[in-house]
């Protein structure tokens, strides 16, 4: 044990920080930053301006699209769902207007995701995080929830005061109202999500009359809860901590990418100054803090581009409102490229180069993937044949010495009409083809197979071959399925197995 205990200097009294108050500004180095910090609740202030209007417009568009799309009808004829956009897990089919996707063609959806990712790369390298700031569901619903919050609890100052005030009947009423409306929006969101997987009019009736299935109620509940939590409570933490995109989107940015940026060269040194022309020794920034107050992720854009910035541009609106009042030049915070900022600082001419190797590569890959997908869609077959050979028994020796193999043949008739396909086998001389309970043929003839519209038909098929026709143990054999009227044709390369050659006499 130590003989003496060092006298520890008493740390400075902690500022009596109320809940939600900003910590006192302290100059910090990287070493000083704590590994863990409690979340400081963000109270974004309402702003007016160009970017706010754009954001409202995109929000209205996205939400309208989301809530209305399941109700759009599309006639596909009798026996098929008439919902334009539907993923029918039970059938299982996915419908997108005139396109119908079978589970075997899920690569179309993969292609869409690839297109989405590369499109995101391209847009980011051109305009920064437009997706994050405007179109991402997290942003759209958070914005919607904040609108409700502002409407019920008031703007930034009023909300901060309300949160710090002791519980009262008024506070309780407002909080209850806010969470009630949030819950209703969340329910509508979770409900609308399920509509994409069910016939919308039918499901809505079933949902409210208690006739929907347990799974349906579960998924509505799940998406209601996640919407409520993510948009009501988690908000900017989703972008900062949960979403992987902000962590690597910087790799898409270069000096020619348009990003939200602060004109440090003319704003600094900031100070609480008055008048259209700042006094000597000061820049245009009057340090009013409105850009910070307006930020939905609670950051200071004057610190430069940072991980938390979702590129929504609300700080631009906030700053311009003030600059208009003060009478100083607008766009102290603006959408601009890093190269332009350097040029402006030096008084050189500005410009923007959207065509760069980076954007060309992204656009090129985007074009190639889109072309591949389009080609695949145009060449999409309406007939597919699968053949599975019996494993037990491998082959059967018949009483006349012939060898028989059994197969399960599946015909995927993707057309919406009943068709009769012609099945034949090639590759083995003298093979006899027997379709169980349907018919048989020999000598290269065909057996007609009826297939119902939009169905998979399964047939038991036997091929019987004389041992002399089998050159080896495993012999290639082709199953050919044709539809003479439409010209649809598909073939499946299978094998015909006979006895091991050394065993034969």
């Amino acid at each position: 044990m130590h003989g003496q205990i060092d006298t520890v200097e008493k740390p400075p009294a902690k500022p009596s920080a109320g809940k939600g108050a900003k910590p006192a500004p302290v100059a910090m180095t990287a070493d000083d930053l704590p590994l863990y910090a409690n979340r400081v609740k963000v109270y974004p202030k309402a702003v007016k301006g160009l970017y706010r209007n754009l954001k409202w417009a995109v929000l209205a568009f996205c939400l309208t699209l989301y809530y209305v799309m399941p109700w759009v009808r599309w006639d596909r004829g009798p026996g098929a769902p008439d919902q334009a956009l539907l993923i029918d897990m039970g059938a299982p089919r996915a419908y997108f207007f005139w396109i119908e996707i079978w589970p075997q063609e899920v690569y179309f959806i993969t292609g869409l995701l690839v297109l989405g990712a590369i499109g995101l790369f391209l847009v980011t390298s051109l305009f920064g995080r437009l997706w994050c700031g405007y179109a991402c569901p997290q942003t759209v619903w958070t914005d919607l929830f904040m609108m409700v919050e502002r409407w019920i609890e008031g703007d930034r100052g009023a909300r901060m005061r309300l949160d710090q005030s002791p519980m009262s009947a008024g506070k309780l009423a407002r909080k209850t109202a806010k969470h009630g409306v949030w819950f209703l929006i969340a329910l509508a969101t979770g409900g609308a999500w399920v509509l994409y997987f069910n016939d919308a009019p039918t499901f809505v009736v079933e949902f409210f009359t208690g006739q929907a299935t347990v799974q349906q109620y579960f998924f509505v509940g799940l998406f209601t809860a996640s919407t409520y939590l993510l948009a009501g409570w988690a908000r900017e933490q989703v972008c900062t901590y949960m979403c992987p995109w902000p962590r690597f989107q910087a790799a898409m940015l270069d000096t020619q990418s348009m990003v939200v940026t602060y004109e440090k060269w003319r704003g600094e040194p900031r100070g609480k100054t008055k008048g259209a022309v700042p006094p000597d020794g000061f820049g245009d920034c009057i340090d009013c803090g409105q850009c910070v107050a307006a930020c939905p992720t609670g950051i200071d854009i004057r610190d430069g581009l940072q991980l938390e910035c979702i590129g929504c541009g609300l700080c631009i609106d906030a700053c311009n409102e003030i600059m208009t009042k003060v009478g100083r030049p607008l766009n102290l915070v603006r959408f601009d490229t890093e190269a332009n900022q350097l040029a402006r600082a030096c008084g050189q001419s500005t410009g923007w180069k959207p065509v760069r190797p980076r954007t060309l590569i992204y656009a090129g890959v985007l074009t190639v993937v889109a072309a591949v997908m389009l080609t695949a869609l145009l060449l999409r077959t309406t007939l597919e044949v699968n053949v599975l050979r019996d494993r037990a028994p491998l082959y059967v020796t018949l009483s006349d010495g012939d060898i028989r193999n059994g197969y399960t043949l599946k015909i995927l008739n993707k057309r919406r009409e009943a068709l009769t396909f012609q099945l034949s086998v090639t590759g083995i001389e003298g093979a006899r083809l027997v379709v169980q309970d349907v018919g048989e043929t020999a000598g290269g003839g065909t057996v007609p197979l009826a297939a119902a519209p939009d169905k998979v038909e399964t047939f038991r098929v036997f091929v019987i071959a004389p041992p002399a026709a089998l050159a080896q143990e495993s012999n290639p054999i082709d199953f050919v399925v044709e539809e003479p009227l439409s010209g649809d044709r598909d073939a499946y390369d299978a094998v015909f197995v006979g006895p091991h050659k050394t065993q034969r006499k």
Binding site: M1, P11, D390, A392, P393, V396, S399, G401
Partner: protein, 290 residues
């Protein structure tokens, strides 16, 4: 060493009252969400112990207020499953096997249920998919049937089996020609050659010729004049390439000398009539049904 419990100036937290080398430990409370989750699990545990079997005793265990058991749940599920299948099983029981074979809907059920029932009851001897096995377990997929390959004949065989105690069992017994000295060795050798000649695999034409008379006298009554087999008597066909006990000369000589008497249980004694019918229809559809 214990020290005074005091308030830490830097954090405002109380200390635990322990100190090691000048380092004091803060008594930071557990996170609320963790604590409440912990309490919730305790409540859950108590409720669970009341409702469900929980505590073992020396010979038994507590039963729980719900009376739930895993076996009971399984029995319930099996019961529910049988209820679910009851209508189609009733239809199968009421339908003639030949009509089942021509009904695509019933055959769809037979294909699924038959595969499972076959794997459970038949595959042990007849092999997966009815492939058969060496040593007297006939293939059910080929076109050679000892007791007949029509749906009705197969149903009869599956229901009552072969050479068992059931009174409807298929029965025939081949004499042990060698052991009981009905034929001498030379005669057996000759008739074996003659039998092999029927399927064109004989090696001694003279012996085969000598065997013809022996065959006509001793074998033809069951196996047919030309070895074509007599289904009604269960006399296997001898003039094809399919051999239940091997088609080489030694095996044929052994069969004649000792006789072969395979058995099959009467499945009507073990399974319900609908399942037996499902099995018969399934076997008929394996590829060799007539």
């Amino acid at each position: 060493m214990p020290t005074k419990i005091e308030k830490d100036a830097a954090t405002g937290q109380m200390t635990t009252g322990h100190e090691w080398d000048g380092i004091k430990e803060l008594n930071t409370p557990l996170p609320k969400w963790w604590l409440y989750t912990f309490y919730a699990t305790i409540v859950f545990g108590i409720v669970y112990m009341v409702l469900y079997p929980a505590w073992p005793s020396l010979s038994d265990h507590t039963k729980g207020a719900l009376g739930w058991t895993q076996r009971g749940e399984l029995a319930q599920k099996m019961e529910a499953e049988q209820q679910r299948l009851a209508p189609i099983m009733a239809r199968i029981e009421a339908t003639d096997i030949a009509d089942i074979r021509n009904d695509p809907e019933l055959m769809g059920y037979v294909a699924a249920a038959g595969r499972v029932a076959f794997a459970d009851n038949c595959a042990g001897c007849h092999g997966a998919g009815g492939a058969g096995a060496a040593g007297g377990f006939p293939s059910l997929a080929d076109d050679d049937w000892i007791w007949g390959g029509t749906p009705d004949q197969i149903l009869q065989t599956v229901s009552y089996g072969v050479r068992n105690a059931n009174e409807n069992s298929r029965i025939n017994d081949m004499p042990r020609f060698g052991v009981d000295q009905l034929l001498d060795r030379a005669q057996i050798d000759d008739v074996a050659e003659y039998v092999l000649a029927m399927s064109g695999t004989a090696t001694d034409a003279a012996a085969a010729e000598r065997g013809a008379a022996v065959y006509a006298e001793n074998c033809a009554s069951c196996h047919g004049e030309k070895g074509e087999g007599i289904v009604d008597l269960g006399g296997p066909r001898l003039n094809d390439g399919i051999w239940l006990y091997g088609g080489d000369k030694a095996s044929v000589v052994h069969s004649i000398t000792y006789a072969r008497r395979g058995n099959m249980p009467a499945w009507a004694e073990r399974l319900d009539p609908a399942t037996v019918k499902v099995l018969a229809a399934y076997v008929h559809a394996l590829g060799g049904g007539q």
